[in-house]
């Protein structure tokens, strides 16, 4: 059984079905990306895993069925979600945001050590640790969101378009750090992106989503070399 196994997943906003029977899975330690245009259902898929919307179908994490759980219970299983729009606690300080990321954990010394570790990945956050998070730039808030997710010591990280709305240089920087995180922590990641190029660079596997259905899947390398994908998503 795969680490995360999704079968026949349908998701609904009120009465409207946004994804129509999705199947995919990912292995522990891998990075998987879901690519697709706006409205393809990428964000919805992540929200479904975290139980933020109504769904039908099966979602198993490490063998355990999560569909009946509340969001906070799913988080306690070790699934950290870096949401669309970054979900910054704007009125709280950078440090408080990181502490909130470790809300489900108990050991104060471990938490303090992990905060240091996050600051090592993102030195800019250390500089701004006492600052209200709402005053950070977009890129810094994205770093904070990833840092907050790391504070859970996640077994699986869900990342919703970490490149969204950021300048190319910042995107490079953030993806560089994600690569480092992967190398030193071995965190399993499920990455949703519109920027297919950069996502395929990082990921091992990819799924291509169109209007709520998987239309293609495979090794990142294979997907990247596909003629259609190149024309539609990579633009060269």
């Amino acid at each position: 059984m795969a680490f995360l196994e999704v079968k026949g997943l349908k998701a609904f906003y009120r009465q409207i079905e946004a994804i129509h029977g999705l199947d995919f899975s990912l292995e522990e330690g891998s990075i998987t990306t879901i690519l697709g245009a706006n409205g393809a259902g990428k964000t919805t898929t992540l929200r479904a895993i975290c139980r933020m919307i109504r769904t039908e179908g099966e979602i198993r994490f490490d063998g355990q069925d999560v569909t009946g759980m509340a969001t906070e219970k799913v988080v306690q299983l070790g699934i950290a979600h870096v949401p669309e729009g970054r979900g910054t606690f704007v009125r709280q300080s950078v440090e408080e945001n990181l502490q909130l990321g470790a809300y489900t954990r108990k050991s104060k010394t471990e938490i303090a050590a992990d905060i240091e570790r996050v600051y090592d990945y993102f030195p800019r956050l250390r500089e701004r640790q006492k600052q209200q998070a709402g005053t950070l730039s977009g890129g810094e808030q994205q770093m904070l969101a990833i840092g907050r997710a790391l504070m859970l010591r996640p077994r699986l990280m869900l990342l919703d378009e970490p490149s969204f709305g950021l300048a190319p240089l910042i995107v490079q920087e953030i993806y560089g750090i994600m690569r480092r995180i992967r190398e030193s922590e071995g965190t399993t990641m499920l990455l949703v992106e519109q920027n297919a190029n950069i996502a395929l660079n990082l990921a091992d596997h990819a799924y291509l989503l169109e209007t709520g259905n998987v239309v293609m899947s495979g090794e990142s390398q294979v997907i990247r070399d596909d003629e259609n994908v190149r024309r539609s998503y990579l633009g060269y």
């Binding site: 975290c50 969001t71 910054t88 606690f89 704007v90 502490q99 990321g101 809300y103 489900t104 907050r148």
Partner: protein, 291 residues
């Protein structure tokens, strides 16, 4: 002693009671975007519970602490059982539920303890602080105690894990869930705390206005005025607003002809005035309206 000074000090005393109730109102407002119209009646009910404990022969401080603890639990239960079902209902339905709560507390209190007014003992000994015509030990005690309570609450929210989680849940429920916070329980906890702080206000005001089921209606209006004046988005502002309203009320009563009879009207004008001309209050931030 200078009359003006005495008036101001007495105003601060009554104002710190408004501050308690205002803080309770703001705590619930921040967490759930509701004005709890029943906050006053809940505080009144808490005070009656304290009165019942006193009747059992318990010392006044023990009775007060027990009543505040009971109120905390009751507040928690009210949120879980009564408020939760209308969490996503239209605003009108929510307002009506609060009015229903107000009626229930008011009438059940009258039913159990009757509508006659009752003297209520002060928590403070007769030789506490100093005395003059307008202010006595109770006033001094009120100021000291409310400042302590408010400080404790501030420390709780600022420095504890649960306090931080409560702030996070109120400010950004979706993100709070994503870090594993049970937002529903945080709201309930907020209600419990609000009920407890309100109870402090009720127990402190009862020796001044006497205990009866309608004792809080005016206090609640002043507390609303204080909360809005200070800024309904700012707990600290609400506390300051409560204090300001208390002092203004006393000045108005003394220096404006007929002012003592128009105190509630003054509170009304303050509420409408702040809403119209400075909706963020003195210390709050503008809440962006989503249309």
């Amino acid at each position: 002693m200078d009359l003006f000074f005495q008036l101001t000090l007495a105003g601060l005393a009554i104002g710190s009671i408004y501050a308690c109730v205002a803080l309770a109102v703001v705590m619930i407002y921040q967490a759930t975007d509701h004005f709890n119209f029943a906050q006053g009646e809940m505080a009144m009910f808490s005070t009656f519970i304290c009165w019942t404990f006193l009747g059992l022969g318990l010392p006044v401080w023990v009775a007060a602490v027990l009543a505040i603890g009971t109120s905390f639990i009751a507040g928690l239960i009210i949120e879980r059982v009564i408020i939760k079902p209308v969490e996503n209902a239209p605003v009108l339905n929510q307002i009506i539920v609060f009015i229903g709560l107000l009626m229930i507390f008011n009438n059940v209190a009258g039913w159990i303890w009757e509508f006659t007014i009752k003297p209520f003992p002060s928590l403070f000994p007769d030789d506490f602080g100093f005395k003059s015509e307008l202010i006595g030990p109770h006033h001094m005690g009120v100021i000291a105690l409310t400042l302590t309570v408010l400080l404790l609450i501030f420390l709780f929210f600022r420095f504890t894990r649960v306090g931080l989680a409560m702030r996070a849940a109120a400010a950004n429920p979706d993100s709070a869930r994503l870090v594993g916070i049970s937002v529903g329980w945080m709201l309930a906890l907020g209600w419990g705390l609000a009920a407890a702080v309100g109870a402090v206000g009720g127990i402190l005001v009862a020796p001044i206005v006497y205990l009866e089921p309608n004792m809080m209606s005016g206090v609640l209006l002043y507390a609303f005025a204080g909360a809005l004046l200070g800024g309904v988005s700012s707990p600290g502002g609400a506390v300051l607003g409560g204090l300001i309203v208390g002092v203004l009320e006393n000045w108005l009563g003394q220096y404006v002809p007929g002012g003592s009879e128009l105190k509630l009207t003054f509170a009304l004008i303050l509420i409408v005035g702040v809403l119209l001309f400075k909706p963020a209050g003195l210390f709050g931030r503008v809440v962006i309206k989503r249309v």
